[in-house]
C-alpha cells in the first residue's frame, strides 16, 4: 500500500518534470534560430538591401529589392484571391456545417491543408506553367492553393465560436440569414478571423517549394505579372547555395527579413487581439 503510494508519487514527479522540461525545450529552437539568423544576417542588412537589385557574383553590395517586391506582389495576389474565396468556404462550413456538402468540403479542405507544398508547386507547374511559362501569376496561384484551406478552416473555427444566440437574435429580428451572417456573426468573429488571415499570410510568405517552379526567380524587377518573378524565399535558397561569400551574406539577410516578417505579423496579431477582446460572454 504505502509502497505503491510512494511509487505513484515518484512517477508523478518524474513525469511532471519531464513534461515541464520538454515544454521549455519546445521554445528553444525558435530562439536558437532567431539568434543564429540575427547574428549572421544583421551585418548584411542595410538600406541597400531593401532598395538595390542584386549585383553580379563576387561583387560587393547590392540588395534584394526585386525579391522583396516580388514576394509582396505574389503574397498580395494570393491574399486577394484566397481571402474572399476561403472566407466564403469558412462561412459555408460554419453556418451550414451539418449538411453533407459541408462535411465533404471540410474533409477536402483538411486534405488540401496537409498536402505538401512541393506537390502544390508541381500541380501548378503542370496546370499553368507548362502552357504560359513561369510567372508571378503562377506563383500566386500556388500560394493561393496553400492559403485557401488555412483561411477557410481558421475562419470556420472562429465563426463557430460566435454563440448561437447571436444568430437567433438576428433571425428573430426579421433579418434574412445572409444579413445575420455578414452583419452580425462575421463582425463578432472579426478579430479571430483577421488573426487567421495574418497567420496564413505569414505562412505563405516563407514558402519556397511552390515558387521554385512556378515563379522561378528573376535577377531584376519583373515588368509584368506574366514574367518570371523573384521572391525572397527562393532568392535566399539560391544565394545560400552560392560559393560566393557575399551572396551567402545576402542569403542570411534575406532569411532575417523573413523571420522578422513572421515575428511582426504574430506580434501585431497579438496586439490586435488584446485591444479587441472578443465578444461579450
Amino acid at each position: 500500500m504505502d509502497f505503491a503510494y510512494r511509487r505513484r508519487k515518484f512517477v508523478n514527479l518524474v513525469s511532471l518534470a519531464g513534461i515541464f522540461g520538454l515544454a521549455v525545450l519546445a521554445a528553444v529552437p525558435f530562439f536558437v534560430v532567431s539568434v543564429f539568423v540575427l547574428d549572421k544576417g544583421l551585418g548584411a542588412i542595410s538600406w541597400d538591401f531593401f532598395t538595390q537589385l542584386p549585383k553580379g557574383p563576387g561583387e560587393e553590395g547590392g540588395g534584394m529589392a526585386n525579391a522583396i517586391v516580388g514576394s509582396a506582389i505574389m503574397v498580395g495576389l494570393a491574399a486577394v484571391l484566397s481571402i474572399p474565396w476561403g472566407l466564403a468556404a469558412g462561412i459555408f462550413m460554419s453556418e451550414y456545417g451539418d449538411s453533407r456538402t459541408a462535411r465533404c468540403l471540410r474533409f477536402t479542405t483538411d486534405l488540401l491543408a496537409s498536402t505538401p507544398s512541393i506537390v502544390v508547386g508541381i500541380f501548378v507547374y503542370g496546370l499553368i506553367v507548362v502552357y504560359t511559362g513561369f510567372s508571378a501569376w503562377a506563383g500566386a496561384a500556388a500560394l493561393t492553393v496553400i492559403m485557401l484551406p488555412i483561411v477557410a478552416r481558421t475562419s470556420e473555427e472562429m465563426l463557430k465560436l460566435v454563440p448561437d444566440h447571436v444568430r437567433e437574435a438576428g433571425l428573430a429580428l426579421g433579418l434574412p440569414r445572409w444579413k445575420v451572417i455578414v452583419r452580425l456573426v462575421l463582425p463578432a468573429a472579426k478579430s479571430g478571423v483577421i488573426t487567421g488571415l495574418m497567420l496564413a499570410l505569414a505562412r505563405v510568405a516563407g514558402e519556397t517549394a511552390p515558387l521554385l517552379f512556378t515563379a522561378l526567380g528573376n535577377n531584376y524587377h519583373s515588368e509584368s505579372l506574366n514574367q518570371p518573378t523573384a521572391s525572397l524565399p527562393v532568392q535566399v535558397y539560391n544565394y545560400a547555395m552560392s560559393p560566393f561569400e557575399e551572396m551567402q551574406q545576402q542569403a542570411w539577410a534575406g532569411a532575417l527579413v523573413l523571420v522578422l516578417f513572421v515575428v511582426v505579423i504574430n506580434l501585431s496579431t497579438r496586439l490586435l487581439l488584446r485591444s479587441k477582446q472578443g465578444w461579450s460572454s
Binding site: 454563440p163 433571425l171 428573430a172
Partner: protein, 255 residues
C-alpha cells in the same frame, strides 16, 4: 378564422424535434393587449411553443411544425409566407440578455431598422429614441449611446434587448423567461415595463416563476409534456383550476 379581437390564433399546432413530438395539438387565442403567461415544468415545451409563433423553431436542424398560426388574421404558416417578414411583426426576447457583440447601445437598437431598409437617419434616430424610452432605458443610456451594449448591467442589457425588439414596432412581443438571469431589482423593473407595454402591444411571456405570472399576466396557460393542459384568466388558473394536473402543479408551486 380568428375572432375579431384576437391578435394571435393558434389552431392545432404540433411540433417535432426529429422524431420527438414536442408539442401536441395546441389551440389557443390571444387577445390584443393581453399579457399571457406560459407556465409549466421545465422541458414541457414552453420555449418550443413561442418559437413556433415566430417561425424560429424551423431553424433548428430536423425540426418540424404542423398546424396554423394566425397573426392579425394571416396564417403565418400559409403557403409562400416568408418567415423573415413574419418575424418583423413579432418580436422576441430571450432568457439570457444577448445584445449583439461589438455593437454600440445605439446600433443594437438601430440595426433591425437599418438592415430592414430604413434609410433616413433622423427617422432611425427617432425610432431608436422611442424604443429606448419604451424599454424604460433611455434615461440610463442617453449619454452613452456609443458605448458597447455589452458594457451595460445584466438588467440593462435585457431592457436593451427589449428595445431592440420594440424598435421595429411589432404588435406582439414574445419573451422567454426574460428575468430568470436577473436580480430581483432588475426583474421588478422588467415586470413594471411589461405592465406599461400592454397598453400598446400584446405580450406572451414564458416564466418559471408563478408569482411573476400572477403579478403581470391577465391570462395564463399551463403546459405539461407538450400539451397545453389549461388556459384561462390568471386568477382562475391559480385559484380554481379545472384540470387536476394544473391544480397539482399550482398548489405544489405555491404550497
Amino acid at each position: 378564422m380568428s375572432a375579431s379581437n384576437s391578435i394571435l390564433h393558434v389552431n392545432q399546432l404540433d411540433a417535432w424535434f426529429g422524431n420527438f413530438h414536442a408539442l401536441k395539438n395546441i389551440s389557443v387565442d390571444v387577445k390584443d393587449h393581453d399579457v399571457m403567461a406560459l407556465i409549466g415544468p421545465s422541458g414541457c415545451g414552453k420555449s418550443t411553443f413561442i418559437r413556433c409563433l415566430n417561425r424560429l423553431h424551423e431553424e433548428i436542424e430536423g425540426a418540424k411544425v404542423s398546424g396554423d398560426v394566425f397573426l392579425e388574421g394571416q396564417n403565418i404558416y400559409g403557403p409562400g409566407k416568408d418567415p423573415v417578414v413574419i418575424r418583423r411583426r413579432i418580436g422576441m426576447v430571450f432568457q439570457k440578455p444577448n445584445p449583439f457583440p461589438g455593437l454600440s447601445i445605439y446600433d443594437n437598437v438601430a440595426i433591425g431598422l437599418k438592415l430592414g431598409g430604413m434609410r433616413d437617419r433622423h427617422q432611425v434616430e427617432e425610432h431608436v429614441h422611442q424604443a429606448l424610452c419604451g424599454a424604460a432605458l433611455w434615461d440610463e443610456v442617453k449619454d452613452k449611446l456609443k458605448r458597447p451594449g455589452a458594457s451595460l448591467s445584466g438588467g440593462q442589457q435585457q431592457r436593451l434587448c427589449i428595445a431592440r425588439a420594440l424598435a421595429v414596432q411589432p404588435p406582439v412581443l414574445l419573451m422567454d423567461e426574460p428575468t430568470s438571469a436577473l436580480d430581483p431589482i432588475s426583474t421588478g423593473r422588467i415586470e413594471e415595463l411589461i405592465q406599461q407595454l400592454k397598453a400598446t402591444i400584446t405580450v406572451i411571456i414564458v416564466t418559471h416563476n408563478m408569482q411573476q405570472a400572477a403579478r403581470i399576466a391577465n391570462r395564463t396557460a399551463y403546459f405539461l409534456l407538450g400539451e397545453m393542459v389549461e388556459v384561462g384568466q390568471t386568477q382562475q388558473i391559480f385559484e380554481a383550476p379545472v384540470d387536476t394536473r394544473t391544480r397539482d402543479y399550482v398548489t405544489g408551486q405555491f404550497g
